[in-house]
């Protein structure tokens, strides 16, 4: 995920390494108690609206999701969804540059946007008396962004994005791993094969008309969901939403072609030389996206394998054999595809070859015996608390409701997700382990420059030299 503003490097590291990244779902301890009160409706132009009132703090989150991400881009024209995330803050038809920040951050609120493979979102949290301002801002950029989008603005934001890329990928140890893995996991031209930030060559070469056509198709009300969560009066909010959004014209229907799951004909063994001193090992298996039910046991499995000191991989590699200084395992799922990833940081005296064997040993044993009842219980015990803590943030609630609405047509999907997670059995977890963790996989060794021999099974590893400037697999 990339952001308009900065993500703390420390956070980025944690995400790469050790988090069992849960999908965005509602979580709770007892089926009856999970609740986010909300109402939802559609405007005649197709805009989906979700309202949820919470007067705890005198602030409101206004959050607009567009169902467009990097996977909607065309090979040769990648990076557009994320580029718009930047352009959308540079003013629109009736609103000059700078006003957006002034009416959000400048009144004690905040704003940001984020882009994933599947969707882009734009949000602001504001003091509750600025709700109308936020709706004015969001409606103007939804309806009138292109009125004032010229080459100068476009070029300025292209430069900012290039700097974002330098900071978050190129100047970051291990920063290119995610794009190396995506390019290796999916065939050339597959919608998930290029990074969300896109190719800088594509961005440079894109014409103004290319960019505008992309906007016209994907940023129309019928491809968007507006969430308003926090301290407001729903009667007034509905009137204001009607006032600012009703006259925006409906766009063309967006086609959603089916996307093939990742599948490797043969396992791939790669080595990448980076400006690092400590090598790392990444193992990735193709799995399923978050709309498939196997995503639930795969996510539960991730917290049985890593995250706590008694998790299987952590206990074996970090505590018992002490081959590794850190280990992480997580199911990383998107709308159409998913991968299960294991990341290991070795202790200096141990090799990546040893680590790979140790990981495999743990996983083979796990496939054979499945989880214990207690492991399953531990993996689910934190759900209630994390659900409750999620309720403390208006923005977090908005994201949950909108995500459910956009991907499942049901803002209350968090309840289903919760129930399906609690219903995961030991047999389910054993089944997905035996089904997915035996597949052809990618093993990527990141090693210091000039130290290719430090790769796991170095002689069999293919060198990743330079990534293609245009999207597509290295195949």
């Amino acid at each position: 995920m990339t952001n308009r503003r900065r993500v703390l490097p420390a956070l980025a590291l944690v995400l790469t390494l050790c988090c069992a990244l849960q999908p965005v779902w509602g979580q709770n301890g007892s089926a009856n108690s999970i609740s986010i009160p909300f109402e939802t409706y559609k405007l005649p132009n197709g805009l989906t609206v979700i309202l949820s009132v919470d007067h705890a703090v005198p602030t409101v989150a206004v959050n607009v999701w567009y169902h467009v991400g990097s996977k909607n881009e065309m090979p040769g024209r990648t990076g557009f969804a994320h580029l718009f995330e930047h352009v959308m803050f540079t003013g629109s038809g009736h609103i000059p540059y700078g006003t957006h920040d002034k009416l959000t951050e400048g009144v004690g609120g905040s704003n940001n946007g984020s882009t994933t493979n599947d969707r882009t979102n734009y949000y602001e949290t504001i003091p509750s008396n600025y709700l109308e301002s936020a709706l004015w801002l969001e409606s103007d950029r939804m309806g009138f962004l292109l009125d004032t989008l010229d080459l100068e603005k476009l070029n300025a934001q292209r430069e900012v994005v290039k700097n974002e890329r330098r900071q978050s990928y190129d100047n970051q140890p291990y920063g290119r791993v995610s794009e190396i893995l995506a390019a290796a996991m999916y065939p050339k031209g597959h919608p998930y094969s290029w990074p969300v930030i896109g190719s800088m060559t594509d961005l440079s070469e894109a014409s103004q008309e290319d960019v505008k056509a992309f906007f016209r198709l994907y940023y129309a009300p019928n491809n968007a969901t507006l969430g308003v969560v926090g301290d407001f009066d729903p009667v007034i909010a509905k009137k204001l939403i009607a006032r600012y959004f009703t006259d925006l014209p409906q766009g063309k229907t967006v086609e959603r072609p089916s996307v093939a799951l990742g599948k490797l004909e043969m396992s791939k063994r790669l080595v990448y030389e980076d400006a690092v001193q400590v090598p790392r090992l990444y193992i990735q298996w193709p799995t399923v996206g978050f709309k498939r039910d196997d995503d639930y046991p795969l996510s539960v499995m991730s917290s049985i394998l890593s995250g706590s000191r008694t998790a299987r991989l952590t206990k074996a590699l970090v505590y018992d054999s002490q081959l590794a200084s850190q280990v992480g395992a997580f199911q990383n799922s998107a709308e159409d595809v998913g991968v299960f990833q294991v990341t290991v940081v070795p202790r200096p005296e141990h090799t990546l070859t040893e680590l790979e064997a140790a990981v495999d040993q743990v996983i083979q044993k796990f496939i054979a015996e499945g989880p214990t009842a207690e492991e399953l219980q531990k993996a689910k015990s934190g759900l209630e608390l994390s659900f409750l803590r999620g309720l403390e943030s208006n923005l977090g609630k908005a994201n949950q409701l909108i995500s459910g609405s956009m991907f499942y047509g049901n803002p209350g999907q968090f309840r289903t997700d919760y129930q399906k997670t609690l219903a995961v059995t030991a047999a389910d977890v054993k089944r997905v382990a035996a089904m997915y963790l035996v597949r052809s996989r990618i093993v990527l060794s990141v090693v210091p420059k000039g130290k290719k021999d430090k790769a796991s099974k170095a002689p069999e590893s293919e060198t990743v030299t330079m990534l293609p400037a245009t999207p597509g697999g290295r195949s």
């Binding site: 490097p9 108690s33 705890a56 008396n129």
Partner: protein, 493 residues
């Protein structure tokens, strides 16, 4: 579960606003006009009680209705700067990590399993001037989690093999930090500003970590975790009475001892005339900037004026620095400025990561904005208004969760600020004058004595930086020590 909210206030608000909606619907929409906001919402600062426990600790309780959550935190006044012996930097952090490694009655694995089953996690950490151990739990698991916390804090056995494992992990982390230009920049900047003798200039090193023994850890733990310097903060679904009962019972074995330390820091090194300190990072795509000098402690009477001044200079997205260097020039993904506040002379720092090819141009712009704020570009009334609004109206966010509320209240006690700090905050910010802003800018953004630390590809950036003529260049290594010779490397890879 439902969030319980008062309905009466809501109904009144509805009546008033329905009237305004009726009039609103009749006006044609003019999209060029920004909507007029209503009156600012009234800030409700949570109430809290303060009690003294028999062991000397201070107990703060703030009841928060709605969700069945409790935030529990023990804050210890004083940190690694006050309690770590010389040459043993890192013992505080290692001790905090060691608390999870086993107690007289439970192994580390058993502690971990128990917490997982309670669905929560206990976090312990020691910073430069304070430390903490705490958790957020559901109401029903509060007492059980507190019992585990007490066991960890009071009965840890500090096994030697666990220390070796944690030491090894710390060493790997230190090695990884050497590849991280942002981490290097921060470390070197501190070393330049404060020198090796001032705690603010010191850090955990390979040598200090290797020197730490199990005895050091045990001694640190005994000395440090004492109720006489503790502030216990409980926020959430509790009453002052029930919280006190839980804490008295849960921490019954924590007996009297310790006191708040003095914060006597050694004198700062003499301020140097402005210099560029260049750390070579061959092949770097970006140059990491840290520009600044030591500043005032948190209790400075200039605090509010500094906050407004810095918000204008580099505290927001549209502040002068980011508006120019990111948005207008496109040299960076983001730059900012800020003051670090503590008991001692925390730093003023402006910086960010800059495209290597624009290192010199960016430095020119940084200097333009720093010179601007001290007088070359007068601060406008509009800038002052936006900065003040932003600061005042962001206050409710500090009470947005049980944890945020706990931090907001605890920091008042740690920093010795008045109990009505949040109630008077808006007035204090509003009272800042343009003259105040000029005065604090000149005093704390001391142009003549800025340390300009740049981590980047020397072969590419040295000559252009020299050509700016802004300040002489000194070469230093990633530890902040001068590089002998100082001749340019032959190539970068």
């Amino acid at each position: 579960m439902n969030r319980q909210r008062p309905h009466i206030a809501f109904a009144t608000a509805l009546l008033i606003t329905l009237a305004s909606v009726a009039s609103l619907a009749q006006q044609p929409l003019d999209r060029t006009k920004a909507p007029t906001p209503g009156a600012n919402p009234k800030l409700t600062v949570p109430a809290w009680t303060t009690q003294q426990l028999s062991n000397g600790a201070t107990l703060i309780v703030s009841q928060r209705r709605g969700l069945p959550l409790v935030s529990f935190n023990i804050t210890l006044v004083g940190g690694s700067n006050q309690f770590e012996p010389a040459g043993k930097r890192g013992v505080a952090a290692l001790t905090a990590s060691m608390l999870t490694e086993g107690t007289k009655s439970k192994t580390g694995d058993q502690l971990s399993d128990a917490l997982q089953l309670l669905g929560t996690n206990i976090n312990a950490g020691v910073g430069g001037e304070e430390g903490s151990i705490g958790f957020v739990s559901t109401r029903k698991n509060f007492d059980a989690t507190l019992a585990i916390l007490a066991d960890m804090m009071l009965n840890s056995t500090f096994p030697a093999d666990a220390l070796d494992r944690l030491r090894a992990r710390t060493l790997v982390n230190l090695t990884q930090a050497k590849d991280q230009p942002v981490a290097i920049g921060g470390q070197v900047f501190a070393k330049i500003l404060y020198g090796a003798d001032h705690p603010y200039g010191q850090r955990t090193t390979e040598a200090s970590v290797k020197a730490i023994t199990r005895d050091d850890v045990v001694a640190f733990s005994k000395t440090y975790f004492q109720p006489g310097r503790a502030i216990i903060t409980v926020v959430g679904d509790v009453t002052p009475l029930s919280a006190k009962a839980s804490v008295e019972k849960g921490l019954a074995a924590w007996t009297k001892g310790g006191e708040k330390p003095a914060f006597d820091y050694t004198k700062l090194p003499e301020l140097q005339t402005a210099k560029i300190y260049l750390v070579d990072k061959p092949g770097a795509a970006q140059s990491v900037f840290n520009i600044g000098l030591p500043g005032p402690p948190r209790n400075t009477p200039d605090y509010f004026a500094i906050q407004v001044m810095n918000t204008i200079l580099g505290g927001m997205f549209q502040s002068r620095l980011n508006a120019n260097i990111r948005e207008q020039k496109g040299y960076s993904y983001g730059v900012n400025s800020g003051f670090t506040y503590g008991k001692g002379p925390g730093a003023f720092r402006a910086g960010g990561s800059i495209f290597s090819g624009k290192t010199d141009a960016a430095l020119v712009e940084f200097m333009k904005e720093l010179n601007g704020i001290v007088g070359e570009r007068p601060i406008t009334d509009e800038e002052i208004k936006v900065a003040k609004d932003s600061l005042i109206q962001s206050l409710p966010q500090r009470f947005a969760s049980v944890n945020a509320t706990s931090n907001a209240i605890t920091s008042l006690v740690v920093q010795g600020l008045p109990n009505d700090y949040y109630q008077t905050y808006a007035n204090n910010i509003a009272a800042v004058t343009k003259e105040d802003l000029m005065r604090v800018a000149k005093r704390y953004v001391d142009i003549k004595h800025l340390a300009i630390v740049i981590v980047g590809d020397r072969a590419k950036i040295e000559e252009p930086l020299k050509a700016t003529g802004i300040a002489p260049i000194t070469h230093i290594d990633i530890e902040g020590n001068p590089v002998s010779g100082g001749s340019a490397p032959s190539s970068s890879n």
